[in-house]
């Protein structure tokens, strides 16, 4: 029982970090970003490169964590403006589903771009994984790094929540989420807000990728597995809601943990089923935002 909870929690933390950016980008820009997985992959590759340089420059092992953080920042700083200014802004105001196709095209392009930049060989980012040692709980041994991810999820969640709800910039962003027209008429620079939101969204995706890199082999194809699972979390929790992403992550994490321990056969489409059920009964997700009906 305890194992199920712990596994659910560690998996949920990973899900939360990975899916948070997706829900934020949708909430503000109303774009359901299929390329989210590609930014995750970019973060993983960037982390591989940055940690490689950090090791080459003989930094202390603890600084590899800083290197990974910097990798995520670098990805956001370089890629976000390029894509948002150079591509997305031509499509604002168009149908939401059209934007989904635009992000799908982005996903295709980024897949090959990543392959061109880093090649098809796998990269390993192993130093950080052993930083936190092992933890024994009951007769299970866990890697400390997994629990560090739980801590990271909490920190990131709190930071984003605080930024949205307690800073002026964040409150402006919430205003834009509710109604960009009215916010604009009040003098808010919408394109700046979009830019910031998109950058933060990409940063969060890249952060997920960067901190996952030590646990996997970074190679072409890592983006694919992430897309659907992020979608499920975000849809269950409600598009645009931070709390929703957290709750969605916990639900999916626990559901999967239970399936794996108790009925592994069901694991494959348990996630789609939960997604479909939630959509049927509460399509806006569990934390819906009240939308004023416009005539």
């Amino acid at each position: 029982m305890l194992t199920i909870l712990i596994d659910g929690l560690t998996y949920a933390s990973w899900l939360f970090i990975v899916a948070l950016g997706l829900t934020l980008v949708f909430g503000v820009l109303k774009i359901l970003n299929i390329a989210h997985g590609s930014f995750y992959a970019l973060g993983a590759y960037a982390a591989a490169s940055f940690v490689g340089w950090a090791s080459a420059m003989k930094w202390a092992p603890g600084f590899t964590l800083v290197a990974m953080l910097l990798a995520a920042v670098a990805v956001a700083a370089l890629v976000a403006p390029l894509i948002e200014r150079g591509l997305l802004r031509f499509f604002y105001g168009r149908d939401e589903v059209l934007l989904v196709l635009v992000t799908y095209a982005m996903f295709l392009i980024l897949e090959d771009a990543t392959k061109l930049l880093w090649g098809a060989n796998p990269y390993y980012v192993s130093e950080p994984y052993t930083l936190f040692g092992n933890i024994d709980i009951g007769n299970q041994t866990y890697v400390g790094y997994d629990f560090a991810l739980v801590a990271l999820a909490l920190v990131v969640g709190m930071a984003v929540w605080w930024w949205l709800n307690r800073t002026q910039q964040g409150k402006i962003m919430i205003a834009v989420i509710h109604s960009s027209e009215i916010a604009s008429s009040m003098g808010v620079n919408i394109s700046r807000v979009y830019m910031v939101a998109f950058s933060v969204g990409i940063f969060l995706a890249a952060l997920g990728g960067a901190f996952t890199a030590p646990m996997i082999s970074v190679q072409p194809g890592v983006s694919v597995g992430v897309i659907i699972v992020s979608f499920a979390v975000v849809i269950i929790g409600g598009l645009g809601s931070i709390e929703g992403a957290a709750v969605g992550a916990i639900i999916v994490g626990l559901a999967r943990s239970m399936a794996v321990h108790l009925a592994p056969v069901a694991e494959l489409f348990s996630i789609y089923l939960v997604m479909a059920v939630v959509l049927m009964f509460r399509p806006e997700g569990l934390f819906q935002r009240i939308q004023a009906r416009k005539i």
């Binding site: 796998p122 052993t130 041994t141 082999s217 597995g225 694991e267």
Partner: protein, 441 residues
């Protein structure tokens, strides 16, 4: 003096011009012949999750091999230039994108690019989809990699061949290795990807274990999604149920993620882990690969390949070009192209030196056998269309001096021991207790 010199000069000029004319005409004749090329379409994963572990190494192998063939630098009996004197022109197609796309691409290769043969396909779904289409088009197709036994067990073909053993032998050999090494197995856990490959592997292993270890109990049966990448929960489940052996057919990025996540948690110390197709992750993982893992390569490939002049030549050819030794995928590609080369040359000998058509190629390849860097390949099943070959299983150990993982305790299994006979389906053969198995260690 001058007149003498002049006469000499005239004479030598004549000699030179005659030589040049002779040379030119020989060249012209030769070039008329060499102008005809043998076009082969090579289809494998250039993108997606199978690219790094299977597709790109195989394509790299093909590239370096085609170059060697075209220079005539392969050892005998493969030393003719190209295929029987015809230069080989290879067209590479990405297998990524689904079976529907592959059917379209294959049609393009035959109809638009006018290839003489297609060698390809790693994915079993792709193989199953394209085989009937090549058959209908009456075009020559060699499946070089996919594992499903269903191709020739569920269908009959005239133009489609598979130049490598199918996946039955992977898990049969693995279980036999455990038995031959007297490893006690009272219970075993399994973790396999939840799609046809994982499910078939799991079944083959379970059925074989029932025969070889009648008392062994199957414990955890984990089936994570293909491409999941996160195995923390599965590892907890595997560790909470103690078992002597843990079996997996995981491959590629999934396998590497599993190893990286399971090793620090001590899974590899608590249970004997066996991987049916794990050799391809060894070069990359290096010292991150735990010692004592029993694994196979789906054939006598890589570090388990038998010593021979041909193998040495191939090993050097590939390693020099790519700075890494060849693992299973390029081996399967090389044995396929070697078989194709001999078939083309045999067909040309039979039809008077012309480029053979699909029927002639099929007749030449059917029931044939040839030497490859992995041992002898014999087209013995499926009416002469499905190959069998020997395989090997070994145990990992990181060698700090060589800075690479090596395989110890290598045991070889002859083809007749681990492949079903010509008249039986894999499932029936295993369940009947391997009737007709010969030469098992």
């Amino acid at each position: 003096m001058a007149i003498q010199g002049n006469r000499k000069a005239t004479w030598s000029r004549k000699a030179v011009s005659t030589a040049v004319t002779l040379f030119a005409s020989v060249c012209a004749m030769g070039s008329v012949q060499a102008q005809e090329t043998f076009k082969v379409g090579i289809v494998s994963f250039l993108s997606g999750q199978a690219a790094d572990s299977f597709g790109i190494p195989a394509v790299n192998g093909a590239k370096v091999l085609v170059d060697a063939f075209n220079k005539g630098s392969a050892p005998a009996p493969y030393n003719k230039v190209g295929f029987g004197g015809m230069k080989i022109e290879a067209i590479y197609v990405d297998e990524n994108g689904g079976a529907t796309k592959q059917v379209q691409e294959m049609r393009n290769l035959y109809d638009r690019d006018k290839v003489d043969a297609v060698v390809g396909y790693v994915g079993s779904g792709d193989c199953l989809a394209v085989a009937p289409v090549a058959e209908e088009m009456k075009k020559f197709l060699i499946l070089y990699d996919c594992g499903t036994p269903r191709i020739f067990e569920d269908g009959k073909y005239n133009y489609v061949f598979r130049t490598a053993s199918h996946a039955a032998m992977d898990n049969v050999a693995l279980a036999r290795y455990l038995k031959a090494k007297d490893i006690k197995v009272n219970s075993f856990n399994m973790i396999n990807q939840d799609y046809a490959w994982g499910q078939d592997s799991k079944k083959d292993f379970t059925w074989t274990m029932e025969k070889l270890y009648p008392g062994a109990k199957a414990g955890e049966d984990q089936l994570p999604k293909f491409g999941a990448g996160q195995y923390g929960t599965e590892i907890s489940a595997l560790m909470s149920k103690q078992a002597d052996v843990t079996h997996s057919s995981l491959w590629g990025g999934d396998l590497q993620a599993f190893i990286l996540q399971a090793n620090p948690r001590g899974l590899f110390k608590r249970t004997q882990v066996v991987f049916s197709a794990g050799d391809h992750v060894l070069p990359g993982l290096g010292d991150k690969m735990p010692d004592g893992v029993i694994l196979g390569a789906r054939g006598a490939y890589g570090l388990m390949s038998p010593k021979s002049a041909l193998n040495d030549w191939w090993w050097d050819l590939y390693s020099k070009a790519y700075n890494v030794y060849p693992v299973q995928a390029p081996y399967r590609m090389v044995q396929s192209l070697l078989g194709l080369k001999l078939a083309v040359e045999k067909a040309m000998a039979a039809n008077g030196g012309k480029k053979p058509n699909a029927e002639q190629l099929a007749a030449a390849l059917r029931n044939s056998e040839w030497d490859s860097p992995a041992g002898k390949i014999r087209m013995a099943l499926g009416g002469g269309h499905q190959a069998i070959q020997e395989t090997a299983i070994g145990k990992t150990r990181y060698d700090a001096a060589k800075k690479m993982v090596v395989l110890d305790d290598i045991m070889r299994f002859p083809a007749d021991c681990v492949n079903p006979p010509a008249n039986m389906k894999t499932e029936d053969w295993i369940k009947a207790g391997f009737p007709g198995a010969k030469g098992c260690p």
